[in-house]
């Protein structure tokens, strides 16, 4: 039973100011790079004080989860932003040529993080299905072909990560539960992405209807699924029970859409509910999703409560 995070963490306010200055050309790349590194150290410290077991760098350099990767992969261009809802927009990439590996996606971030912490590290990367689903496809005759081509690119990145010492990769695929009719494509994509990758593989999914992708996803070649439960009142644990779920479970038990900090008691109750479905050594306790939209002090407090609750359950069960 370990505690972890999904990936993102609120950026320090000073970093947001630096990013803006950099965008306006008022500070140079070297200064900006130093700022990113200092921000990672600050975030790591927050995670260490909170006591989280497996951490990531809080995604200080990532603005969002599609275009950040698309910009670094051959075959994508970004013409501009499109609306998602209300006043929220994202830079939606277009696939205009053959998708090929160009540059590392998370190797540098992993190496830097490794140099500043003794903690275990998880590397989250958006999966092939989700990136393609959130892009325009001008090049490939079908979406399926685009997904598989991108899966090959990510497979190469995963191998590079393993080469430099990463042993835990999390594939973020929030788009999968929104298209249950394409679950077969998603499944094949996973097989391509993880082929020959000697690491522990998790898959994070939020949004959508989980019931619609069960039991199909149980055949995915991953070691762990990470779901949001808190946001859905833990009702979806029932689905896992129904299908005799036997993979490891990333158990989202902290609501990232609410500023209210959970109580230790509440989180402990949730963990006990999860332990009715999986064994303690299969359980990874974490928030529902990335914490980036919360105020930093709230995000920190939520992590602290999560760790405290996990520790208390551990000692109650005699697992130290």
């Amino acid at each position: 039973m370990k505690t972890t995070v999904v990936g993102s963490y609120p950026k320090p306010k000073w970093l947001l100011k630096m990013i803006k200055l950099h965008r306006d050309d008022r500070i140079d790349d070297r200064v900006m790079d130093e700022a990113y590194k200092d921000a990672v150290k600050a975030v790591v410290k927050d995670h260490e004080i909170a006591g989280v077991d497996i951490i990531w760098d809080g995604e200080m350099r990532r603005e969002e989860m599609t275009s950040y990767f698309a910009e670094r992969i051959e075959g994508f261009v970004i013409y501009g932003e499109v609306r998602v809802w209300g006043n929220a927009y994202y830079p939606k990439p277009s696939i205009v040529g053959e998708l090929r590996y160009r540059d590392e996606l998370a190797v540098r971030d992993f190496l830097f993080l490794k140099s500043v912490t003794e903690k275990e590290i998880k590397v989250p990367i958006t999966g092939a299905y989700t990136i393609v689903d959130w892009s325009f496809n001008e090049y490939y005759p079908t979406k399926e072909e685009a997904v598989y081509a991108l899966a090959e690119v990510l497979n190469r990145e995963f191998k590079e990560l393993v080469k430099v010492g990463a042993n835990y990769i999390q594939i973020d695929e929030p788009a999968i539960p929104t298209h249950p009719e394409e679950i077969e494509i998603a499944k094949n994509a996973v097989e391509i992405m993880v082929k020959g990758v000697k690491a522990y593989i998790g898959m994070h999914m939020c949004y959508g209807n989980y019931r619609a992708i069960f039991p199909d996803i149980l055949d995915f070649k991953v070691d762990q699924f990470d779901f949001e439960f808190a946001n859905r009142n833990f009702e979806d644990l029932e689905i896992l029970r129904e299908y005799d779920y036997d993979k490891d479970l990333g158990f989202g038990c902290i609501d990232v859409h609410s500023k209210r900090v959970e109580t230790v008691e509440e989180v402990k109750r949730a963990i006990h509910m999860a332990l009715e479905v999986v064994e303690p050594d299969q359980l990874y306790v974490d928030p529902d999703c990335g914490l980036k939209l919360l105020p930093r002090d709230v995000a920190f407090e939520k992590l602290r409560v999560m760790v405290k609750a996990t520790n208390e359950v551990r000692s109650e069960l005699g697992l130290e």
Partner: protein, 315 residues
């Protein structure tokens, strides 16, 4: 055969207007803050001019403050409350679900943004919807769907009368949900749509996101002057429809409004000629299959250019 270039409805907001809305409304669910009329007018005229510059003949106001796509109409009627976020058909776009909390009533003009566009330019068509709004809303008030639909129909009908009074030539009614209506439901819908189409203005039914073979022949009795079909999503099926049924005025949605890929003009021309050869049309409108808000603004403009170039080569 007269050929007219047009667009379906929504258009990407100018960047400065986007920033303005974000500033006055924020990112949370409590949107629909009253926008300063002069600011809105500036944004609408920018988008209207952009369409003209691209060579579009029958314009729209761009639906620049339609946060919830067609469901925005509900937010402007009494009886609805907007809440929760739901995916808009098969798009990566979300809208707040209108929840029916009381009797539906029209208490003010629905299309106040269209009114602004109409001051700038007379050749603009307003966009409304009825059945789709009823289908995508959550009814917590009426005991029967039909009562809800008829009250909604009455509200839309009032708006249409006012638009007619203003001297509007075309009124477009978007009904993507109609494509998924059951056969016996379609029969019952005849009266609702007849109510909406009994106006001096010419009415356009716009369907998109799918092929429309399931709504034929019933739709022919709904009283629309123009029927719009999506030939990007349903080329084969919709072409077959034209072979089987005849009507005089059609809107051909042939340019993909949901992909940045630019079509080949010769390919479009071949398809267009194939489509119109299947019927005897007096008037043919060419447009993208959907609104252009699905695209980054530079690409939306390029798509309109393709529409007008196609119009030039086929007429």
């Amino acid at each position: 055969m007269r050929v007219i270039s047009t667009v379906v409805g929504n258009y990407p907001r100018p960047e400065w207007f986007r920033d303005y809305l974000r500033k006055i409304e924020g990112l949370q669910k409590d949107l629909d803050v009253e926008v300063d009329r002069d600011v809105l007018k500036k944004a609408v005229s920018e988008v209207v001019n952009e369409q003209k510059r691209a060579g579009i003949e029958l314009l729209t106001d761009g639906q620049l403050i339609w946060h919830d796509f067609l469901l925005t109409i509900a937010s402007r009627l009494e009886g609805f409350e907007m809440n929760g976020l739901v995916r808009y058909f098969d798009n990566n776009l979300y809208y707040r679900i209108p929840i029916v909390k009381g009797k539906i009533k029209r208490t003010k003009r629905i299309l106040y943004d269209f009114e602004i566009a109409f001051e700038i330019e007379k050749n603009v068509k307003p966009v409304l919807s009825c059945y789709t709004i009823a289908k995508l809303s959550k009814n917590e008030f009426y005991s029967k769907f039909d009562e809800f639909l008829w009250d909604l129909c009455d509200a839309i009908r009032e708006e249409i009368e006012e638009l007619e009074g203003m001297g509007v030539e075309f009124i477009q009614i978007d009904e993507p949900s109609l494509l998924y209506a059951e056969k016996d439901e379609l029969k019952n819908l005849e009266d609702v749509f007849k109510e909406l189409t009994s106006t001096k203005a010419k009415t356009v039914l716009m369907t998109y996101f799918d092929s429309a073979e399931r709504i034929f022949p019933e739709v022919l009795d709904f009283g629309f002057d123009v029927i719009g079909l999506d030939f990007v999503e349903g080329y084969e099926e919709n072409t077959r429809v034209l072979e089987e049924y005849s009507f005089e005025r059609i809107n051909v949605g042939l340019i993909d409004g949901r992909n940045t890929k630019m079509e080949d003009l010769n390919d479009l021309k071949r398809k267009f000629e194939e489509i119109v050869s299947r019927g005897e049309f007096k008037e043919v409108f060419i447009s993208p299959n959907t609104g252009l808000e699905f695209l980054p603004r530079v690409k939306a403009f390029e798509k309109m250019r393709i529409v007008s170039k196609l119009k030039e080569v086929v007429s």
